[in-house]
């Protein structure tokens, strides 16, 4: 199994986008098109394996070497800070990580005056670092989903969350105040794999680099 290459891909749209991009350099997996509940797909001819995992678990599988390569959002990488190579910006899955608050608050509230604020987010590490760098103390409330709900019910004043079109924020009567980072999907590589399988992995990186578009795009 040692000369196989294993990918960890996040289930869903990013997985489709990844496979679409990979197919341009001949990385395919017909088994994946069959409707199944499988989590591992193989292409024995090309000695390729694909694992469908949760997006936030992709860096873990790659860090521990269960997968050689992975595709994951920059938001997850920033949040987890793992020791991985991230050689390529794949330019899809574009969104922004923003600070948002209920509409109307901005009239009475100038970010320059923040000193101690309460923030709900899926990204406690990024949020803490971002505000600490600006000398603002935050009380963090870690949530696992529907972050926009927090200010509506008074759980927090603000949120830090991903925004792609802004539709969800609008629907919940919130506005963006600041952008923390622009996010796209990245190709990540296990450190040992890059060294021990450098020929195959180098070919993948160089190949993908040539077919990645210039424009970033939203994945929906």
């Amino acid at each position: 199994m040692n000369d196989w290459i294993t990918f960890a891909l996040p289930k869903g749209r990013i997985m489709q986008d990844s496979m679409e991009l990979f197919s341009k350099i001949g990385i395919t997996c017909p088994e994946m098109n069959e409707n199944s509940r499988k989590l591992v797909f193989e292409n024995p001819e090309l000695k390729l394996r694909f694992m469908a995992v949760r997006a936030t678990d992709v860096p873990t599988y790659v860090e521990y070497g269960c997968a050689d390569l992975g595709v994951v959002g920059k938001d997850t990488l920033l949040e987890q800070g793992k020791k991985l190579y991230e050689p390529l910006d794949l330019k899809f899955g574009y969104c922004r990580l923003v600070v948002a608050e209920p509409k109307g608050m901005e009239n009475s509230d100038n970010p320059l005056n923040w000193s101690n604020i309460r923030v709900a987010t899926k990204y406690p590490n990024i949020t803490e670092r971002y505000f600490a760098a600006r000398g603002i103390q935050v009380e963090l409330i870690k949530l696992y989903g529907s972050i926009e709900l927090a200010p509506l019910v008074g759980l927090s004043e603000r949120i830090v969350d991903l925004v792609s079109t802004g539709g969800t924020l609008k629907a919940n009567n919130m506005v963006e105040v600041e952008t923390i980072a622009e996010i796209t999907s990245r190709l990540i590589v296990n450190r040992a794999s890059l060294k021990t399988k450098h020929q195959r992995i180098r070919a993948i990186i160089d190949g993908l680099e040539k077919v990645i578009g210039d424009e970033v795009r939203i994945s929906q």
């Binding site: 040692n2 050689p87 296990n190 450190r191 040992a192 060294k195 021990t196 399988k197 450098h198």
Partner: protein
């Protein structure tokens, strides 16, 4: 499990563990194999102490290690003491002080344990088993190649079948960055992006600086300068400064020596590998096994370290992390390490003398033999012997009667008499 369950009163702090016989045997095997390689290359062991004065120790520690030492007050001296977090600093101190009058080069090796604070993260060891060598007083590609060749021999000796030793050169990066109009913080961010091979981040960082286009493309090439020997030619084309070129010449010389030693097939090059940038002065390397994300050994040149202890001579060396090695090779070692004991001697009656005599005779012949001192039924002894990995059970009655040998592998029984054991050609199996 309930969260209200109190922890057992005999638990251990995080990051340390007990090694039961099988694991302990494997660790010992790894240590022995490494020691054999060190000895074959003419290295001699030194044993540093497990306590040092913090201020003395700190002089020889790189930035990342300084804050990771366990430290405390010493009532005897009123100074701060530390448990060493790394043995290289200790070997440097010993060589520069106690051995400073000796002729160079010094070839020293060590096997020991160090303690380190780690982030509060699961699975990170605080009790670290190190094994390594220091080659002191030589500044030449041949000395660096010696470290790499020894590492490769050591990896073969412990039974690793597929592995890579990845070589870097800090001087290449320093040459590229020399005299650039960036401040310290920017330089660190650039180094970090290169370390992660994050080209897009690197582009963003460089866009904010007034670096010339030529140098910019030199820096942008760094995350991709990894692979086989061809990397040197690629790099040669991408840089124009002398310092980086000297670094490439140095690597080429090292690779030539490695070719003579016949170990080139295991070697890769990565000029964007900047781990230990503040500590290493030239060539660096790390050993990788497929599927294990972290390196199992690391080494390189540190020509400024010895001067910290008053002897300004160059040095190079490497360290193995034995627990990483054990983790990676655990399954392979199952085949190498046969745990257990040759023979358990069971006495059927009250004539214990016969059983004791047999045990003594077989030990003298080099077998490992234990006496089943407890009085119990033979079937109970067999259950015990099986669990404890004995190979045979000897059932002894008296010094006149034959001895029954029961093999635990296949439960076969055979008989031997006392004269047979005396015979010079006697073997148990």
């Amino acid at each position: 499990m309930r969260f209200s369950d109190p922890p057992q009163d005999s638990d251990l702090p995080k990051g340390v563990r007990d090694f039961l016989p099988l694991k302990a045997a494997k660790l010992e095997f790894l240590q022995q194999q490494l020691r054999k390689v060190y000895s074959a290359w003419g290295f001699h062991p030194v044993i540093p102490p497990q306590l040092e004065f913090l201020d003395v120790l700190e002089r020889g520690l790189g930035e990342g290690l300084r804050e990771r030492a366990f430290r405390f007050d010493d009532r005897q001296s009123n100074r701060l003491l530390a448990f060493p977090p790394d043995m290289t600093a200790q070997i440097a101190r010993i060589a520069a002080t106690r051995m400073s009058q000796m002729l160079l080069p010094l070839r020293l090796c060590y096997n020991g344990r160090v303690l380190r604070h780690t982030e509060q993260q699961a699975g990170k060891d605080r009790d670290i088993f190190q094994s390594g060598v220091e080659l002191i007083g030589l500044d030449s590609p041949e000395a660096d190649a010696e470290m790499i060749a020894m590492t490769i021999e050591a990896l073969s000796a412990v039974g690793a079948d597929r592995f890579t030793v990845d070589i870097g050169q800090m001087e290449f990066f320093r040459g590229v960055m020399d005299g650039l109009p960036v401040d310290r913080q920017q330089a660190e961010l650039i180094a970090d992006a290169i370390l992660r091979k994050d080209s897009s981040e690197l582009d963003l960082l460089l866009a904010d600086t007034s670096i010339s286009d030529r140098t910019r493309s030199e820096i942008q090439a760094l995350p991709r300068l990894f692979g086989g020997r061809e990397v040197l030619e690629l790099a040669e084309k991408s840089v124009s400064n002398d310092r980086s070129r000297r670094a490439l010449d140095n690597l080429a010389d090292i690779l030539d020596v490695l070719e003579t030693y016949g170990v080139s097939e295991h070697v890769t090059i990565d000029l964007g590998e900047l781990r230990g940038l503040n500590y290493h002065t030239g060539m660096t390397f790390q050993g990788f096994l497929p599927g294990l994300g972290r390196s199992i050994c690391s080494g390189g040149r540190y020509n400024t370290l010895m001067a910290q202890y008053g002897l300004d001579v160059p040095a190079t060396g490497f360290t193995f992390s034995l627990l990483h090695l054990l983790f990676a090779l655990d399954k392979n070692l199952d085949q190498t390490i046969a745990p257990g004991t040759d023979l358990l001697v069971y006495s059927t009656g009250d004539h214990l003398r016969a059983a004791q005599k047999l045990a003594r005779q077989l030990r003298q012949r080099g077998y490992s033999v234990a006496r089943d001192i407890i009085r119990r039924r033979i079937d109970e002894t067999l259950v015990y012997a099986r669990q404890m990995n004995y190979r045979y059970v000897a059932v002894v009655a008296t010094e006149d009667l034959e001895i029954e040998l029961i093999s635990l592998a296949d439960s076969s029984r055979s008989r031997i008499n006392w004269q047979q054991i005396q015979h010079p050609d006697f073997t148990l199996y």
